[in-house]
Symmetry: C2
Subunit: 217 residues, 2 copies
DNA sequence: GCTGACATGTAACCCGTTACATGATTCC
DNA sequence: GGAATCATGTAACGGGTTACATGTCAGC
């Protein structure tokens, strides 16, 4: 349902082709959404049928003709209504966390490998976002202007950066946590169980609390 | 694709009915996945056809008969293969961030309202997770045992808590950021633009950097 | 000569959601 | 009497992904 509004939102700023829209989704908007050209084109047709957007054909030389879409008043109204409506917290789908949840089935080495590998992936994403921030800020400095548009996109960019940084930090801390309780993997083989006292400290350190009651505020 | 492995993962620990599986997804596993009974039942049939799980009917008095599923050796193998495979970083879909991205279309009041409203939603989720952590820890203390199973589920729980805390913090900081640049909304009406100097400080404060070059490490 | 950017689409398929359908028991 | 819990499913629909299909031009 959000794809529709993402497209209306973009067309509320500029006229664009399906191809242009895809590039925005792949670039900055990839922080919060992604889609495919094969989804965009039918959706554009649908929105045009609903009179929320309209199009004109632009012939080009050396390149294929393109269909330039623009938003209508009805489309703007629809967009504003969605923007004002409170949005529910999305149901996350994080397959890496699902893997992690069942990783007690793996050997200690495999667990650590998976965590370190995933951390690297997240680090690569963080670098890309930092690059985006740098470019955006340079663009602002050149143009010497700052608008509410740039304010809100900076907020989204900050969220993207935070998210990556936090995931990386969690990977690091979880690696330490797992390593500090390494011996649990050996116990498992002998069908034995660790006692609480040996674990308590590592647990509190990992959760950054002093004791249990701290959670009850 | 991950639902399959979530179900296999659960059945690798206990025998369960479709109904039991749904409860797990609604409870702890909601940190990283969610699904519906109407998706679980057909998926169970499919997995049984593929010989990854098998079932037996359990007649009950006072309650409907139930179909208790258990994992097969082939199912275990399939699960372990998935666990060992590196997982790609998921493509996020965050409709609130999408809204935020286009919120320059709203009035300052509406922007602040949306941010504050969403923050409250996240705070409610955080409280629920803290409760889960408290309960899990109490259970561990009672049983006086700690296993790799509990270790990995603690890691996932920690990630859930961090995520909520970080989102809440981002909401707070973004509210401050928006408020500190309040006057941009008034400029917009007069088709004017703010100059860079007036904005630079607020921007650096929000992104927690000293200057631009700090991003280039 | 090949890859990638530009440009638009269709078709098949899979996954996920909502609605429909049934029926007993327990608790308020 | 009504809602919630236990328990299993089907059907319709909508959203998202992969594969297929076509064609030009620029740069390596």
């Amino acid at each position: 349902m959000s794809l529709k509004y993402g497209m209306l939102g973009l067309l509320s700023k500029w006229e664009a082709t399906g191809y242009d829209i895809k590039k925005e989704f792949d670039d900055f908007m990839s922080i919060f959404w992604h889609t495919h050209l094969s989804q965009i084109y039918p959706e554009l047709s649908k929105l045009e049928k609903e009179k929320l957007i309209e199009s004109k054909m632009i012939p080009q030389n050396g390149k294929p003709d393109k269909k330039l879409y623009s938003i209508t008043d009805a489309g703007r109204k629809e967009l504003y209504q969605w923007l004002e409506a409170p949005s529910e917290t999305p149901n996350v789908k994080d397959s890496f966390l699902m893997q992690t949840f069942f990783m007690d089935n793996l050997s200690l080495e495999d667990v650590l490998f998976q965590l370190k590998h995933y951390q690297k992936q997240r680090e690569a994403r963080l670098e890309k976002l930092k690059q985006t921030l740098y470019e955006q800020w340079q663009m602002i400095k050149e143009k010497n202007e700052f608008s509410t548009r740039l304010l809100m996109s900076s907020a989204v960019l900050k969220r993207g950066l935070d998210q990556e940084e936090e995931y990386i930090l969690w990977c690091k801390r979880t690696i330490e946590f797992v390593e500090s309780l390494e011996y649990l993997w050996n116990l498992e083989e002998s069908n034995d169980c660790a006692t609480i006292n040996e674990v308590e400290e590592a647990f509190y350190r990992y959760f950054e609390v002093e004791d249990l009651d701290e959670l009850k505020n």
